[in-house]
Amino acid sequence: MAFSGNFMCTSFKQELLEGVHNFKNSGGNTFNLALYTNSASFTAATTAYTTSNEITNTSGSAYSAKGVSLTRVDPTTSSTTAFTDFADASFSSASFTARGGLIFNDSASGDPTVVVLDFGADKTASNGTFTIVFPTADASNAIIRIA
């Protein structure tokens, strides 16, 4: 089993219509980014955060279960597309390897997933910094956009 691409989770699309998720900077939900080894197998059918195949530290304690809480950026629009963004996320003094991640709603019941992120290859930080850079927040590239 392995990562096989980036996916917008199908359950997330339904939950958007049900009002489960709030991405506003002020008063929005807490969204986390958890990291996984390449033994994880996530697809659009992935529905919730799991500890299975979540990474562990090679040394130190930079990473802990459920990963890092993301800083929300207020949703906005450009032409007819609505989109939202997160600030880049970093783990400092990090020693671990990750192949991909899950963004999930830590505020909502059951930790429902938002997107599956495939890093394309194992990424390793060793006594250094592990940074996830989110795409440009515009109508063509933003991490979550509705056209």
Partner: protein, 98 residues
């Protein structure tokens, strides 16, 4: 005539992962990331517009690099003073000289 508007969430997205070994990112590396967030140019832009955007981006990189260095220097002053207050002046001096 009936007009319909499809609503779609795109699967076409990706993140970039940057890592370091035995160090943190330098101010210059962080400034490059900041500039990428501030300045972007359309794929359809003319060469003249693209060149102007790149020149502006380089100015942003230099400016942000300078102020990151300023932030580091000032934070180091605050940290060193706290260490001196804790009774470790030699350690504070070592950190000041980094």
């Amino acid at each position: 005539m009936i007009h319909t508007n499809a609503l779609g969430l795109s699967n076409d997205f990706s993140v970039q992962v940057l890592t370091t070994k035995d160090r943190g990112f330098t101010p210059e590396e962080i400034a490059e990331r900041a500039a990428d967030k501030i300045v972007s140019v359309s794929d359809n832009a003319t060469p003249e517009v693209r060149a102007q955007a790149e020149a502006f981006r380089q100015k942003i990189v230099r400016l942000v690099t300078f102020y990151i260095h300023e932030g580091i220097k000032n934070d180091r002053t605050t940290v060193c003073n706290a260490i001196v207050d804790a009774g470790q002046p030699q350690l504070a001096e070592l950190i000041r000289r980094l």
